[in-house]
């Protein structure tokens, strides 16, 4: 029960952040690129979160940054879910050599430090927001694939699948209409955790200068800008980091809440 409160708290925070991101142009007191003070000034009533080295309002940039960071996270996780679900479903349903080769591909991808692979691909492409979404999605589907495969291996043995086959359903129909809906619980959990992971990856990538490019603001590249001004303008690095942390924490809480609702057993054994 305690954990569900956390999940509701997480949902509330995400809803607020989403609202702030969507209505950023209405809420933001300044334009994100507008130079509204001379150099970095600390938080004040004019600038609640202070201004950055160029005199741009950190609150406004954070609001616009939320749009970028949240949409990169969401799109990347959708790509990862599509790829992972497809790979896992095919592997788990057909088994045999199909399963073997897909799972070996998963092993190969898993043996890379993913940030390194992403950096290498990004260095080759022009680092822009679409490539960031795409590359993060392409390098984070393996966990979902393993999960869905496991679920499919379990579901495949259930009687209703046999029944569906007996009345002459095709493979595709069995996979998508009969089996996938029954595997959706763990997929939802993986989606929330995956989005949290994608937001963290985006921030690390943009921080290293290989992600979302200026003048577009994302929480990660705001942190990159802040690095040289830690002594004189610490608010520049504190605020975007806190925003990332709160977002990721909310997503974790939502994921844990869903997981717990799905498996009552864990509620007793777990915590």
């Amino acid at each position: 029960m305690r954990r569900n409160k956390a999940a509701i708290f997480g949902l509330a925070i995400m809803a607020i952040f989403l609202g702030l991101a969507i209505f950023a142009p209405v809420i933001a007191p300044y334009s994100p690129d507008e130079i509204s003070s001379a150099g970095a000034s600390p938080p004040s009533w004019q600038h609640l979160f202070g201004t950055d080295d160029l005199g741009r309002d950190v609150l406004s940039r954070s609001l616009y940054g939320a749009r970028i960071s949240l949409s990169v996270g969401a799109v990347a996780v959708v790509i990862a879910l599509l790829l992972g679900t497809l790979a896992g479903a095919v592997a788990g349903y057909y088994g045999g050599w199909v399963d073997g080769s897909i799972m070996r591909a998963v092993d190969v991808m898993f043996a890379f430090p993913s940030i390194f692979l992403i950096l290498a691909i990004q260095a080759m492409l022009t680092p822009n927001i679409y490539n960031v979404m795409f590359v993060i999605g392409l390098t984070s589907w393996m966990g979902v694939a393993r999960l869905v495969r496991g679920e499919f291996l379990r579901i495949r043995q259930l009687q209703y699948v046999e029944a569906a086959r007996a009345i002459g359903c095709g493979d595709l129909r069995i996979i998508f209409r009969h089996m996938l809906p029954n595997a959706q619980g763990p997929i939802i959990v993986a989606a929330t955790l995956g989005m949290a992971g994608a937001i963290l990856t985006e921030s690390a990538l943009s921080f290293l200068g290989m992600g979302v490019q200026p003048p577009m603001s994302s929480w990660g590249n705001m942190l990159m800008d802040s690095q040289a001004y830690m002594r004189d303008a610490p608010w520049m690095s504190i605020i975007p980091g806190l925003l990332i942390m709160v977002t990721v924490l909310s997503l974790y809480f939502i994921g844990e809440g869903v997981r717990e609702t799905l498996s009552p057993k864990e509620r007793h054994a777990g915590s």
Binding site: A111, F112, P113, S114, M124, S203, M230, V248
Partner: protein
């Protein structure tokens, strides 16, 4: 047991081939030519062709891969485009620093995780448990590099306790907090599950002291999932090293790797990818073997 280990060793070969092929393709299929970054564009075209031939860039990509593979089997990963030194020498110079960071973080993580996980499980819902639950979640949600920046801000910039670069303490703390969080949760979960088992009740019923029940009977079994998670978290540990070493200017392999990526220094990138992959795979293998030693059931399962 011997068959199990042998079997696992054989599986490594296709895995390494796959990894090398994938990373080779990723680095070579990029638009643009690495020579553009290192050579004066006004150079005589004939001279450029000679350099390209020297680096093997005039060959079809598949041939380039086979040549690379042949040399790699003899531990020759080519020469760095930027320094001209053999890649293996360059990595060899940096690797000890990375290992120093990773191994000390690994040990520190275990030293904290196991007792914290056990106490959290035994004293479930106590203030201690709640505190560490909160810390774990926060630890998982903090971007590692930001944690590094904040530690630097507090301990170097404000308090002047530690130098921002060239000191082991800050990168070590950053890396440890990063890997600690998730692992502590797993350790606690595993311990809770074991404590609910029948044999623990039996052990208690026959009057064994609680200390013996917890440390002798429960902990040994609760360590199993931790071993697996430790193996699985190795890629993250390496990934963390790339970012952490860059922030703290730590002269290790991770920082070398990030620089190589920015400079499109293919031979160095490939060398580092392969070396990390090998270390990750060997780590996982050791975890599997440790698991099989502790839990005989694993050995007899098919596959």
């Amino acid at each position: 047991m011997r068959k199990f280990v042998l079997n696992r060793l054989l599986q490594i070969i296709p895995l390494l081939l796959g990894i090398s092929l994938l990373s080779f393709l990723v680095t070579r299929l990029a638009p643009g030519d690495p020579t553009a970054l290192f050579i004066d564009p006004n150079i005589d075209p004939l001279e450029l062709a000679r350099v390209r031939a020297n680096w093997g860039l005039d060959q079809p990509i598949f041939i380039q891969y086979l040549v690379w593979l042949k040399n790699a089997l003899l531990l020759d990963f080519g020469r760095s485009y930027t320094t001209g030194l053999p890649v293996i020498t360059e990595i060899g110079e940096r690797l000890p620093m990375t290992l120093l960071l990773m191994i000390s973080s690994f040990i520190l993580t275990l030293l904290i995780t196991i007792p914290v996980g056990v106490i959290s499980a035994v004293k479930k819902n106590s203030w201690f448990d709640n505190l560490f639950t909160f810390i774990s979640f926060a630890g998982m949600a903090i971007p590692t590099f930001w944690l590094g920046l904040m530690l630097m801000l507090v301990f170097s910039v404000k308090l002047h306790w530690l130098p921002a670069v060239g000191n082991l303490a800050l990168p070590l703390i950053t890396m440890t907090i990063g890997s600690l969080a998730g692992l502590t949760r797993y350790q606690r979960g595993a311990m809770l599950e074991v404590l609910n088992q029948e044999y623990i009740r039996v052990a208690r019923a026959k009057g064994l002291p609680e200390r013996v029940v917890i440390f002798k009977h429960a902990l040994r079994n609760a360590l199993l999932p931790t071993i697996t998670i430790l193996g699985l978290s190795l890629p993250d540990l390496f990934g963390g090293a790339f970012v952490i070493e860059t922030i703290f200017a730590w002269p290790g392999m991770g920082r070398l790797g990030v620089q190589a990526i920015f400079q499109r220094n293919y031979p160095t990138i490939m060398g580092i990818v392969m070396l990390s992959a090998i270390l990750i795979i060997v780590g996982n293998l050791l975890a599997d073997i440790a698991y099989a030693i502790v839990d005989p059931r694993i050995r007899y399962e098919k596959k």
